[in-house]
């Protein structure tokens, strides 16, 4: 028999499709704003999990940065994860073995992403939170399997610098929107069970 998904009094599925994990000390408001945007733009029900320390093995001492790839590996291996999408939020600077810095990183068509607001804090608190939300939505798009888009203003456009990030709208273009929503619908169907395997949203 198919396990029943938890529902509210109106029969709406209340199970979170996204889990936000603050990594290290971050402003609580930041996680709430990101969760709000995921809910509003993509209708992704989101839980904010208790904060966790950044994995020590991800620290690149020579560069004073955390390796985003290792953080993703760490999060993906957490046994407590339940939702099909997991986003780590950090205020530390991120890089990868090959790139001097990244604003965020994600598993293309996978389950986990990590976003940092270390380099986003140049224009006041509100702007920082807006940038963080855009980046989180962008990385969720990658987790859903979407590549970069060349449509002007689309959230999936490649982000090379802060000016380009600020130039994006808080929406996906028509084709990315169609694709990301199609995959989220499919993910809902696939994740009818209580636990979601990695890549459950990928089709």
């Amino acid at each position: 028999m198919q396990p029943q998904a938890p529902t509210d009094a109106f029969g709406i599925d209340t199970r979170a499709l996204t889990e936000l994990i603050p990594l290290g000390a971050i402003n609580e408001l930041a996680a709430e704003v990101v969760a709000g945007h995921l809910q509003a733009i993509l209708e992704l029900t989101t839980d904010i999990l208790p904060a966790q320390p950044l994995p020590e093995n991800a620290f690149m001492a020579g560069r004073r940065q955390y390796d985003a790839v290792k953080i993703i590996e760490h999060l993906a291996a957490l046994p407590s994860l339940r939702a099909p999408i997991c986003i780590g939020l950090t205020s530390s600077d991120l890089g990868t073995p090959i790139l001097t810095y990244v604003y965020g990183e994600s598993q293309l068509g996978g389950r986990v992403a990590v976003v940092s607001f270390y380099r986003l804090t140049t224009a006041g608190k509100e702007m920082t939170l807006e940038r963080l939300s855009k980046l989180s939505l962008h990385e969720v798009g990658h987790v859903m399997g979407l590549g970069h888009c060349w449509e002007q203003g689309c959230l999936m456009r490649s982000i090379r610098n802060i000016d380009q990030l600020d130039g994006l709208n808080m929406t996906f273009c028509d084709s990315c929107s169609y694709e990301v929503n199609r995959r989220i619908r499919r993910m809902r169907i696939n994740s009818a069970g209580t636990e979601c395997p990695p890549g459950a949203g990928l089709l």
């Binding site: 560069r63 790839v69 890089g95 990868t96 073995p97 090959i98 790139l99 001097t100 810095y101 990244v102 293309l108 990658h142 590549g147 970069h148 060349w150 490649s158 090379r160 610098n161």
Partner: protein, 451 residues
């Protein structure tokens, strides 16, 4: 600029680097394959050739430089970006000399990596477009070497000569009357040669005063002469790695011939007012409508310069000596100007074509082009008739019938009409506006014989 699925091979012995780079490129739309060594990269190339190669310099076994050489052997136009660490910049410079497109130090600044990838993708797109446009051009059966319209035997010999001389780098002298298409032949040699992706720089030497010509050719430094308000590159410099086409070379003053001769010998020169030697390596193609040997006799052209530029000579026959090229040329220009003007012109009437065939064409193909362009502009119907060609004055002394007797002119005109109509007597009679029986009688009287 979209990556639009360009196949990319990342070669690095560090797995983390390969994976990280592959993930980044995949998000940007590249199709990525990774290899952990030079030999693995070469075996990947057995499966398919890639559009872009990202190759680490330091790898155990075959290093990046050796791999670069091996890739270039198999795929000379491969785009290769060398990945280096900060300590191996000299190696990267060496790689650039061996044909790498660019190099990048790891770890990369993401913006720098994006810029490099965008640039090489754009280069690839331009190359592909160039190849496709050339292929489209070659698909036209009546177009010979790179867009020259001709069917005559005389021009087939010119095409054969172009094919023969193109792979060499020796100077070529093209001789032909004005308007025969000397620049087109020069371009064809350039495109069929060993450096088609290099620049083709053309200069009409007859169109400039001596000082201006020198400045055009050699360039000048700021303040070299009155009006030289900023430094300027000359055509010799621009033509580096490509072809320099000097039209009307007979108009170059003897003093400048000496300077040019020196450039050809030493492959370096100085800008006007400059003292730095600039190296340049180009293929020289010259053209003239004049008899250079006559100019040498008159001491207006240097003999040593003549022998230097006249290593290979191609003569382009005038249009009047290859009248069979007139119909395909007329059709080509008709189609071109119909498209440009938006008029729907189906073709030329037999009578109009007969008039074109009977003309002397002192201005050669250029004159024919102008005649057709004007005819298309003036045309009211769907066919270009004799009335639209009235400006082609076949009764002037320019007409090759001018020196003939009336009877000889009649014979030539009838023969032309018959040949134009493929010896269909009814059609030829219609074109000549006489009865069929009259034409038959004249054919008999003048003993004209068909093919």
């Amino acid at each position: 600029m979209t990556a639009s699925g360009l196949w990319t091979l990342v070669v690095d012995d560090e797995e983390a680097i390969c994976e990280s780079l592959a993930a980044w490129l995949t998000k940007d739309g590249y199709r990525v394959v990774t290899a952990s060594s030079g030999s693995e990269a070469l075996s990947c190339m057995q499966q398919r050739l890639f559009d872009i190669y990202l190759v680490d310099v330091r790898m155990p076994g075959m290093d990046g430089i050796e791999l670069l050489t091996r890739i270039k052997e198999q795929q000379p136009d491969a785009i290769i970006i060398i990945i280096t660490a900060h300590g191996t910049i000299n190696t990267a410079v060496d790689a650039m000399k061996r044909g790498a497109s660019d190099y990048i130090c790891k770890p990369f600044d993401p913006e720098a990596l994006s810029l490099i990838m965008e640039r090489v993708s754009a280069t690839k797109a331009l190359r592909d477009e160039n190849v496709s446009l050339r292929a489209q051009l070659m698909e036209r059966p009546d177009l010979g070497a790179d867009g020259i319209v001709a069917q005559s035997e005389a021009m087939q010999k010119v095409f054969a000569a172009i094919e023969d001389v193109a792979p060499a780098t020796s100077p070529v002298l093209i001789r032909g009357e004005t308007g025969v298409g000397k620049e087109l032949v020069a371009r064809a040699i350039h495109m069929a040669g060993t450096r088609p992706y290099g620049p083709f720089v053309a200069l009409n030497c007859g169109a400039h005063t001596e000082t201006l010509l020198e400045s055009e050719l050699f360039g000048h430094e700021k303040g070299a002469f009155t009006g030289a308000i900023k430094a300027r590159r000359g055509r010799l410099e621009m033509a580096n790695s490509g072809t320099l086409f000097l039209d009307e070379i007979g108009d170059i003053p003897p003093k400048m011939q000496v300077s040019l001769l020196r450039v050809l010998e030493e492959k370096k020169f100085q800008r006007m007012g400059g003292n730095q030697w600039i190296e340049t390596d180009f293929r020289l193609i010259s053209a003239t409508h004049r008899d250079l040997t006559q100019l040498i006799k008159e001491d207006r052209f240097r003999e040593d310069f003549f022998y230097r530029i006249n290593v290979i000579r191609i003569d382009i026959p005038p249009l009047r000596e290859r009248l069979e090229d007139v119909p395909p040329l007329a059709d080509y220009f008709l189609e071109r100007y119909s498209r440009e003007t938006g008029k729907r012109i189906l073709g030329l009437t037999q009578r109009a074509l007969g008039m074109l065939m009977a003309y002397h064409w002192p201005g050669n193909v250029r004159e024919l082009r102008n005649v057709i362009e004007r005819a298309v502009v003036l045309a009211r119907g769907q066919m270009i008739g004799a009335e639209e060609l009235t400006f082609v004055n076949t009764r002037t002394e320019e007409c090759h019938l001018g020196t003939l007797t009336l009877q000889e002119a009649e014979i030539t005109h009838i023969r032309n009409a018959l040949e134009t109509c493929g010896w269909n007597i009814s059609q030829a009679a219609k074109q000549l506006d006489i009865d069929r029986s009259t034409l038959t009688r004249k054919i008999k009287r003048y003993q004209l014989k068909g093919p």
